[in-house]
């Protein structure tokens, strides 16, 4: 577990980047630091691996003050993914991924084998191993960045706006990939972003910071959307909070009506109650000319229908 205990970062010119931050980052979950630029989110992140040391307070990793640990040793035990990937242009992909194992003095073959395993794990063709970073697209480079961070199997992963520099479609697929990886690996991830949608999509917990480095609210995404702590958080969350919150309510509890004669998935919006959210169900209803969302199972068989009125009722909770 990572604990921020009254952490302040003040620079020589008097600027306060982080102001008395106290926060617990739970193990095995994704905690997102989100806020506008100048809110101290990256500074906070970098105090975990000592790229920046706090002026006051302590950052504890598993109960141990990180400033008592040698920086290089500490960092080799913490994965780090940076915006634009930060790959070493002069090293082949396989050796980029094996960077930390090499630093830890692993046997060359063992380090490269591990790198190959990770290359596939992040969804890249093993043929890419021999290439140089410039021969990869931005999205592929970022996958390599994630693989590199995971190479020595660190329990903690720090991600500093890792997906900000790629286009929206690639970003969405990288986000999905991260969630898939996390469901297998259960790392303790601290993820920094300025994009609230990304925060809400990825975070098990979201910490909203405001300019001046003050913590505004820490909450699960659904709670953040339904109960913003103040005007700043409300404004930062933006429009459509109500609709977006429905994305966190599972559709499996919806009462289904029997499908009327002749209602088929064709020509209707459909949703899968086993995996979709209320938001998807409502969307399906809005897309159907008769206002009925058709529930289907994994094999596409019709389970029943829900009307808009019932959906709105369910949304009110």
């Amino acid at each position: 577990m990572i604990t921020f205990d009254g952490v302040t970062k003040r620079y020589a010119d008097g600027t306060v980047a982080v102001d008395d931050l106290s926060l617990e980052v739970p193990d095995g979950a994704i905690t997102v630091f989100v806020g506008p630029s100048g809110c101290g989110k990256t500074t906070s992140l970098r105090m975990i691996n000592r790229m920046i040391d706090p002026t006051e307070g302590r950052v504890l990793l598993d109960g141990k003050d990180v400033t008592t640990v040698d920086p290089a040793t500490l960092r080799r035990g913490i994965g780090y993914v940076i915006q634009q990937a930060g790959l070493f242009p002069h090293r082949r992909i396989v050796d980029n991924i094996a960077t930390v194992p090499f630093l830890l003095g692993w046997d060359k073959k063992k380090a490269r084998d591990r790198a190959m395993e990770l290359l596939e794990r992040v969804g890249l063709d093993p043929k890419m191993a021999r290439r140089y970073p410039y021969q990869l697209s931005g999205g592929q480079q970022q996958r390599v960045g994630v693989a590199r961070a995971l190479a020595a199997d660190p329990p903690v992963l720090l991600m500093d706006e890792p997906f900000s520099a790629v286009d929206p479609i690639v970003r969405a697929s990288l986000q999905e990939e991260l969630l898939r990886l996390q469901s297998e690996l259960h790392k303790t991830i601290v993820f920094v972003t300025h994009d609230i949608d990304e925060a809400v999509k990825l975070g098990d917990t979201v910490a909203v910071l405001r300019v001046g480095g003050k913590l505004a609210q820490v909450a699960a995404p659904a709670d953040l959307l339904s109960d913003p702590a103040d005007d700043f958080v409300r404004e930062f969350l933006g429009r459509d909070r109500g609709i977006r919150r429905l994305g966190f309510v599972p559709a499996k509890n919806l009462a289904l009506d029997p499908a009327p004669e002749g209602v088929t998935p064709e020509g209707h919006g459909t949703f899968n109650p086993a995996r979709d959210s209320l938001r998807a169900a409502l969307d399906a209803a809005l897309l159907s000319p008769d206002g009925l969302a058709v529930a289907v199972d994994d094999d596409g068989r019709v389970l029943g229908v829900v009307g808009q009125a019932a959906l709105v009722g369910a949304a009110r909770g």
Partner: protein
């Protein structure tokens, strides 16, 4: 007068006549006086350039001084040094080393600046200690820019050596003076051809080294 531009028999007789002004000896001297300054310059420019890249306040004064030195006529420097080092190759090598520094220090600084910030940051975050980060990450990435500077330094050094002929240490430059004094073109043509060939070979060698050392940078070529 049917004097040809090049008299091949002169070349045959003077290529290796055993004397101090045989073309072969002049070429060898030329190579030494051109390359010692470039190698020495590189060895000095790396630590100085690293210092300038690290302590930014050092950079402007250093470049300022080097530019002033670069603007001095080489002949003036040779004359000043004559009283210290006499009519030796050293008198040519020292100024040329200074000239090559004027090119190579900025090249090293630019090379270090060509390391993208996110790459440097990620090296820190991976747990590279400073020295290892320098030797394994930053310097290798700086190589293409440094080699580009080295090409300029090598070619200009090869051409500048000739001026040393005015103090009796000019390598192939002797041929220009000799030919001019005797109104005899063959040595001049031979000198020009050899200097250009030397510059071309040096440039090609550095390009080949660059290809070999930095296959990852081929897109920039």
């Amino acid at each position: 007068m049917d004097e040809p531009l090049v008299r091949w028999d002169w070349i045959a007789r003077n290529w290796d006549n055993g004397g101090p002004t045989s073309v072969k000896v002049l070429l060898e001297n030329h190579i030494v006086m051109a390359f010692v300054p470039v190698i020495a310059g590189l060895l000095i420019a790396i630590p100085l350039g690293l210092a300038c890249a690290r302590y930014r306040w050092l950079y402007q004064p250093t470049v300022g001084i080097m530019n002033v030195v670069y603007s001095l006529p080489s002949l003036a420097l040779f004359s000043i040094l004559l009283s210290v080092t006499g009519l030796t190759q050293t008198t040519v090598i020292i100024p040329l080393t200074l000239f090559s520094l004027a090119v190579l220090i900025p090249a090293v600084v630019d090379g270090m600046r060509s390391v993208p910030d996110h790459v440097r940051q990620s090296a820190v975050a991976m747990g590279f200690q400073p020295m290892r980060r320098l030797t394994r990450v930053e310097l290798p990435i700086a190589v293409p820019v440094v080699l580009a500077g080295l090409r300029v330094a090598a070619v200009s050094s090869i051409s500048l050596v000739s001026v040393g002929a005015l103090i009796g240490q000019g390598g192939l430059g002797y041929l220009f003076i000799d030919g001019w004094q005797r109104q005899f073109y063959t040595p001049i043509v031979v000198g020009i051809v050899l200097v250009v060939a030397l510059a071309l070979v040096a440039d090609l060698v550095i390009i080949a080294a660059q290809r070999l050392l930095t296959p990852w940078a081929r897109r920039r070529a």
